[in-house]
């Protein structure tokens, strides 16, 4: 079941990537249209605003699974291992509970906005519950990911839950170096 669920996170992350690309292209087209044809594309600003929000909450569940959030580890590194594990477990549970709690309120807000038929402000209004619904979805998926991480840590105590350092090493690992750079 988790496989299907993991694919869902991947699909949402790719949707976020697509939105990033769309933001770039739409803004670029708008600049071109304004300077060359003196006709700015009206919907671009609102499209971009909504896309920024959607990018965040479509990508956040995936980012949590990929352990991409930055955390302060100075104390964790200083304490003995069993205590470290306890703190990590607590941190995952606190993060999960908070995301779940706020996500639930976002779901309530989604329903409320839907029931009242609230639309976004601007020249091209869209139903606001679409956007707030994605906040709810993103936060609830994030909560699931944190709790999943806590469960993994509980059953496999040696899991590295803080991968930010490992993450950075991947980022910083030399890419396929160009010929000549090894010299």
């Amino acid at each position: 079941m988790f496989r299907l669920y993991d694919r869902l996170l991947d699909v949402l992350a790719y949707a976020a990537v697509f939105l990033l690309f769309a933001i770039m292209v739409a803004t670029g087209l708008d600049v071109g249209a304004r300077y060359f044809f003196n006709r700015p594309i009206g919907w671009v600003i609102e499209f971009v605003q909504h896309s920024m929000l959607l990018m965040l909450f479509l990508g956040i569940g995936w980012l949590t699974r990929e352990r991409g959030h930055v955390a302060v580890e100075i104390l964790l590194d200083a304490v003995p291992k069993p205590l470290r594990r306890g703190m990590e477990l607590a941190a995952l549970l606190i993060s999960g509970a908070t995301s779940g709690f706020v996500g639930w309120w976002a779901a309530v807000a989604t329903w409320d906005n839907y029931a009242r038929g609230v639309v976004t402000e601007g020249i091209y209004p869209i139903p606001r519950h679409w956007l707030i619904g994605v906040i709810a979805l993103g936060l609830l998926l994030t909560a699931i990911e944190f709790l999943r991480g806590a469960a993994t840590l509980w059953t496999h105590p040696d899991t590295d839950v803080h991968q930010v350092e490992a993450e950075l090493e991947t980022v910083a690992a030399p890419p396929a170096l160009a010929p000549g750079s090894e010299t």
Binding site: A13, D30, V48, L56, A71, I74, A91, S95, P175
Partner: protein, 439 residues
């Protein structure tokens, strides 16, 4: 509740939860959630919290953040950095500390093309560190310049962090971007002077080696092929903002598109490069936005509890000169910089500092630039400087964190010197803004 109790509970709460290892974004969310419950009449405040999360990042002015990051990532993954370094390499003659100077020069050029210190440092490290090691360079003249040169991406536009600072501090994004250029160049000059001095005094740390001499034709050819096209990107970002043709958003979109265009022109733009660059940029953006969205209620809680007002009155009530206050604020930022992520520092301090700066009648852009250098320095201060970790990732096995700290130390001092210069000569900032008719 007295304002200082509220302040210590709120700030202390964030610090304790972060120390536990809760990711920065969720540490802010925990404290904000509790704060909303305690201060805004129980559960009744939560719908408002959701709305403030909703409006936090649906902002048109934040568009440069993902796009500036994308520019850096494309530059890095497409290997355009390598050829720029090779071209610059032809132009630097036989000078003391040659490779360290090449690092600073490349770092400055990359900074004008990339908005990500992380991508910048990783790029410099992977391109130049192997050769420096092979030539027997000491750590202070190899890893130090890589971190310092990488950090310049925060100053020289496009800079994602400058956009975040301006937007949290509610200052003009264009002004902060433009005003940071000259201090960025001053820092590069300070690094250069220091490297020359150290390489002359300790030649064993930067052994000289024979270089293949390039003819003027080769030099010009390399510059035309590999440096001039980069100039197009630099112009489409900083140039267009400076001459007032494009807003930061438009410049960011043109910059990102022209980075991809340039990669295509060098036949590097593949489907794999595009998806990898977009995925990496999305990852860094979501991480950044998550913190900003989670903390959006934070400054509201600070204000609502009366902590901001109380602190403001208390500070303005004691007869200290603005000079001492600005120094004090920067000492706090520097201290926080040792332990905390930069965006978190901005979110904690700016809601308190900016009203203070405004009521003292100081120039907010000037203050923002000094703080930006301070935050850049935070990337190199132990134990939690991001660039230190990146350096560890690219450094040869056997390099300890102690080695990396000591390599970074002189450049931390130089950054402090740059801050002092701006402090004594605020005209550096106001002059730039006036020159570009932004003042």
């Amino acid at each position: 509740m007295a304002w200082y109790t509220a302040l210590s509970l709120i700030l202390g709460g964030v610090v304790v939860v972060m120390a536990l290892g809760v990711p920065v974004a969720f540490a802010f969310l925990v404290v904000t959630t509790i704060g909303v419950f305690a201060l805004q009449g129980g559960a009744g405040g939560f719908p408002q919290l959701i709305l403030s999360i909703y409006s936090s990042v649906s902002s048109y002015s934040l568009v440069p953040i993902p796009l500036f990051i994308l520019m850096g990532v494309v530059l890095w993954h497409s290997n355009l950095g390598q050829q720029a370094v090779d071209a610059l390499d032809k132009w630097i003659g036989r000078v003391p500390g040659r490779l360290s100077l090449l690092t600073i020069a490349s770092g400055s050029v990359f900074s004008a093309l990339s908005g990500s210190t992380m991508a910048n440092t990783a790029m410099l490290g992977s391109i130049l560190l192997p050769e420096m090691r092979q030539r027997g360079y000491g750590r202070g003249l190899s890893m130090g310049p890589i971190m310092a040169g990488g950090g310049l991406a925060m100053m020289i536009p496009p800079s994602a962090l400058a956009v975040i600072l301006a937007s949290i501090g509610r200052i003009s994004i264009a002004k902060v971007l433009i005003a940071a250029i000259v201090p960025g160049i001053i820092m590069a000059i300070l690094y250069t002077a220091y490297i020359l001095w150290r390489a002359i005094r300790h030649p064993e740390e930067a052994p000289s080696y024979s270089i293949a001499s390039a003819t003027l034709g080769e030099k010009l050819g390399a510059a035309a092929r590999y440096l001039l096209p980069l100039g197009v990107i630099i112009f489409s970002v900083s140039g267009l903002i400076v001459i007032g043709v494009a807003t930061p958003n438009e410049a960011a979109a043109l910059g990102a598109l022209s980075s991809l265009g340039l990669a295509a022109a060098y036949r590097r733009l593949t489907w794999a490069l595009l998806t990898k660059s977009l995925l990496d940029s999305m990852k860094i953006t979501v991480m950044t936005f998550a913190i900003m969205a989670a903390a959006t209620g934070f400054s509201q809680i600070l204000a609502f509890s009366g902590a901001t007002r109380g602190l403001l009155d208390a500070v303005l009530g004691i007869e200290v000169s603005p000079v001492v206050l600005v120094i004090g604020m920067n000492v706090i930022v520097f201290f926080l910089g040792c332990f905390m992520d930069q965006i978190a520092i901005m979110l904690i301090t700016l809601p308190i500092f900016m009203p203070l700066v405004n009521s003292l009648g100081l120039d907010p852009v000037w203050f923002a630039i000094i703080m930006l250098i301070n935050l850049e320095t935070a990337l190199m201060t132990p134990p939690f400087g991001l660039l230190l970790f990146i350096m560890k990732g690219v450094a040869p096995p056997g390099t300890t964190f102690m080695h990396i700290y000591s390599a970074a130390a002189p450049y931390v001092m130089l950054n402090i010197l740059a801050m002092a210069l701006l402090f004594v000569f605020p005209q550096i900032i106001s002059g730039v803004l006036t020159a570009f008719r932004l003042g």
